[in-house]
Amino acid sequence: MALVDERVAHGHGEAHHEELGFWQKYVFSQDHKVIGIQYGFTALCFLLFGFSLMMMMRWSIAYPNQPIPLVGKLLKASGGIIVPEFYNQLGAMHGTIMVFLGIVPLAVGAFGNYIVPLQIGAPDMAFPKLNMASYWSYFIGGVIMLSSFFAPGGAAQSGWTSYPPLSDIAPTGQTMWLFGMLFLIISSVLGSMNFLVTIIQLRAPGLTWMRLPFFVWAQFVTSFLLLLAFPALQAAAVLQMMDRLAGTSFFLPSGLVVSGQQLQVAGGGSPLLWQHLFWFLAHPEVYVLILPAFGIVAEVIANNTRKPLWGYRSMVYAVTFLGFMSFIVWAHHMFMTGMGTVMSTFFQTTTMIISIPSVIVLTALLISLWGASIRFTVPMLFALAFLPMFAIGGLTGLPLGLAPADIHLHDTLYVIGHFHYVVAPGTVFAMFAGIYYWFPKVTGRKMSELLGKIHFWPSFLFMNGVFFPMLIQGLAGVQRRLYDGGASYSHAQPVLHWNAFMSGSAWLLGLSQIPFIFNLFWSMKKGEKVGANPWEATTLEWAAAPSPPIAHGNFAEIPTVHRGPYDYSLPGASTDFTPQHQLQEA
């Protein structure tokens, strides 16, 4: 890095990064790559934790009122049994942790931070200090969320949606949930603002909008969603905090009776207000979960089919339209709130319209496979699995978007099956694809292919083992949020035998992650050493050194871009890939 040393010698501006101590280099780092790794590691830990909560829930569902093995000793008060109140905490915190502390930080915070500046040829994010603040705000939010388990009365237990009036009168854990949420929202707003400025302002020369890798487009739209949708939940969280701490009644209607006693509040509030504000965020949030996954899958597919993405432009237009529409579909979560036909008709229509761009993206990805000589690498396996899994998730969503069908399916396990198909074998598989794909860039080493395959196949199998029966149970009318999995309902009896099957699949799914965890750490030290561009890819991040140096500057000098993102197998080219910064054929 002769360039860097020379600049330090001149000592102008804020360029004293070479002498950074350990704390500034690895802990309170302002480098987007370190922050990306911090986000990634923290988010993976949260994903594992959230998954463990779910594995405990699955015990209670399959074997209600029986002491849980292994971890049962921790639950002294109930003799190892998961009581309904604790089950509610597990459920609420599983949802919150997976969505707000696991997937979004991994998809946006980790992949976005590490990859976006590299892919657009920028030296760093536009505001490195703010970037650091975003991570630490997220971290504090996460710590608050976790510590709420030790609050009197336990963690939040009103579902991840925290619907009032229940959440207004819940124990202290809910207040901590709100505080944690405020930190997470601040983190997201600052982070997304940073991403937008970075993508708009710091693109390398020649990198026009239609030459951006699809992943960058996905992150761009995602950031807009986070920036403009999250404040609605911020407002709602402030109002609920006032309700809980200052005794106001924003969400408490007059004459509310709790446990046979009329609640002593001013009244006049509206519980529906929370739902409007919450879903104004949370529907765009659904697309925040899926768009980065689209981006990663598109990168991996283009690279492993050795072909340009089919319909790149229409994919870009589709995600932009998708982002825009996601702001006007939120009330399809509220068909059961007694809304009238005019409003439900409007939101049904917008919901059907928004499915079109998702189908465009998925179709374009499928057609990209046509006639390709596919390399079945581990990232490609996950990306390929993403396609049908997301398709199941998306298609099962259509009946939920239509009010007449939703009235029957609302709050059943069918809903759970639907969105888990989108997020678990959908987004999470895309995240795995991304980890296997970009690991060589981060560490300079490849992850083990064999262990990757041992990770992939059982995961694929057991994911479906967990979630497909949910659709069956849901269609039979079994409701969500039942600690006994429906055992006390007669209509659930014919499908009750699935519970043990699903729980078994969930635990086996947990076991299948061990090869991944081992692979992740083992490959850091012992993985096969590779060069800058092991996958022979075209986008700019592969023009940087393997494991680019920490401190400012990803590239020895900023590359100039001469072509679109996926120039694979150009006719007459000497190799089957032509990097974006390559001027012409050698």
């Binding site: 760093d124 400025v197 302002q201 404040p231 407002a235 106001t248 924003f250 006049g268």
Partner: protein
């Protein structure tokens, strides 16, 4: 490697990073206050006839008018401080920035009197839903004023050293801080009539 476009504008977008950043941040703030305004409208129009309490029953309009004037004046001094920097007049900048900060203090003092009086006579957020939304909105706005004052204070004191080494960059920073401060003023311009007068 320096991050580009911290001082000069990127040719194709025409802005420097921080300016785009602050506008995006303000966009997010618009949605935050918008959501609260929306909640206010929903609760007020949803209240059964005759049950909604109006601001004039509790609130002190002359004091709030005074506060409006203070805040608008501070916006003028803020923009004048930026213009002084543009004219390379650092002395005037300090005077105007000092006045802006002083106006912020004045605003908070008046607000403190208002709050204090209400608490004294037992008008609390939990008294009724109007007071709840009043305290929430003005409280959140007050926090924004405090945030802006910290920012302005930094640029008046330690942050102003940058004017000697990178005058243009410092001028940009003051402009960006100004955009935020004007936004806080703008929110108050809407809060004042909707809470106090209607």
């Amino acid at each position: 490697m320096e991050i580009p476009y911290t001082v000069e504008a990127r040719p194709d977008t025409g802005v420097f990073n921080a300016k785009l950043g602050v506008w995006l941040f303000l966009a997010s703030e618009v949605m935050l206050f918008g959501a609260l305004f929306s909640s206010y409208v929903l609760l007020r129009t949803g209240a059964p006839a005759g049950t909604w309490h109006h601001g004039r029953e509790f609130l002190n309009v002359p004091l709030a008018t005074l506060n409006t004037i203070i805040l608008i004046a501070s916006s003028v001094t803020m923009v004048m401080s930026w213009a002084s920097l543009k004219l390379n007049d650092f002395k005037k900048y300090r005077i105007y920035m000092g006045l802006t900060l002083l106006a912020g203090v004045g605003f908070l003092v008046v607000k403190g009197f208002e709050y204090g009086h209400k608490f004294e006579i037992g008008l609390l957020p939990k008294t009724n839903t109007f007071l709840a939304i009043y305290f929430t909105l003005t409280g959140l706005h007050g926090l924004h004023v405090i945030g802006g004052m910290i920012l302005n204070g930094y640029f008046l004191g330690p942050g102003s050293k940058m004017f000697k080494t990178q005058p243009e960059r410092f001028t940009n920073r003051v402009e960006v801080a100004g955009l935020y401060w004007h936004f806080v003023d703008l929110v108050w311009i809407f809060l004042f009539p909707t809470l106090y007068l209607l």
